[in-house]
Amino acid sequence: MMSILEGRFLSGFENAAKYVPKIVDWVDGNRHFDHHSQKFVVDFVVRELFNNAVEHGNRNDGAKMISYRVESRLGFIEISVGDEGQGFDLEQAVRRDRESGTDSVRNRGLLIALKLGWTLSARGGTVTARYEYGRKGG
């Protein structure tokens, strides 16, 4: 069975913070998290996708929009967040994050998502995070 949640809102950290719990609760309603850690991780990943869109995609321009699409299926969950930016090279961004030191955490959220067992892909101004249940942290 497939469920989809979609929406859009004006870019900004404050606006994004209002949508994070709505998305997490929706995912919980579909999947019923077994552990608090699963809810925490989904919350973390959604925040990082939104942070990336606000800061890097829309460059803190509050007049631009952010869109999201969450797809929940039997074996996986997929969260896509789009912005009005030009898009970026995801591999290059992750490589840069890996090479930065321990005392530099800025922009490392996507790298953390990878280490939590999510896969990431980027196309234009949309970044998609996907988690297949049964893998690490699931």
């Binding site: 942070n51 955490v105 953390i112 280490k115």
Partner: protein, 101 residues
């Protein structure tokens, strides 16, 4: 962010959401409470109320580390949840902070 100084330790009580939307205010709170004071040798960030964190929240903690370790203070993180500890491990925070769950 609630901040108190007692017996040589500055304790910062982190909020439920240590995330992007609240970081600017937290930075201001810390500056207002601790800048110019020399009556503490340790900084303790109490994360017992913190349910969620993101990379901006992690950046805030790193900022505290950089600011106060440069002034010779020790920085301690306490009361964090298991999932937050997982993030700390990924970030190798044990190399920077004293971690005490």
């Amino acid at each position: 962010m609630q901040i108190t100084v007692r017996e040589g330790t500055a304790t910062c009580l982190a909020p439920a959401e240590l995330t992007a939307a609240g970081i600017r205010q937290m930075v201001e709170d810390v500056k207002k409470a601790l800048d110019g004071r020399d009556d503490f040798s340790d900084v303790c960030v109490d994360l017992s109320a913190t349910e969620n964190i993101d990379s901006m929240g992690l950046t805030f903690l790193i900022g505290l580390y950089k600011t106060y370790s440069a002034r010779g203070r020790k920085i301690r993180l306490t009361g964090y949840s298991g999932p937050i500890l997982e993030i700390f491990k990924i970030m190798k925070f044990d190399e920077l902070f004293e971690l005490r769950q």
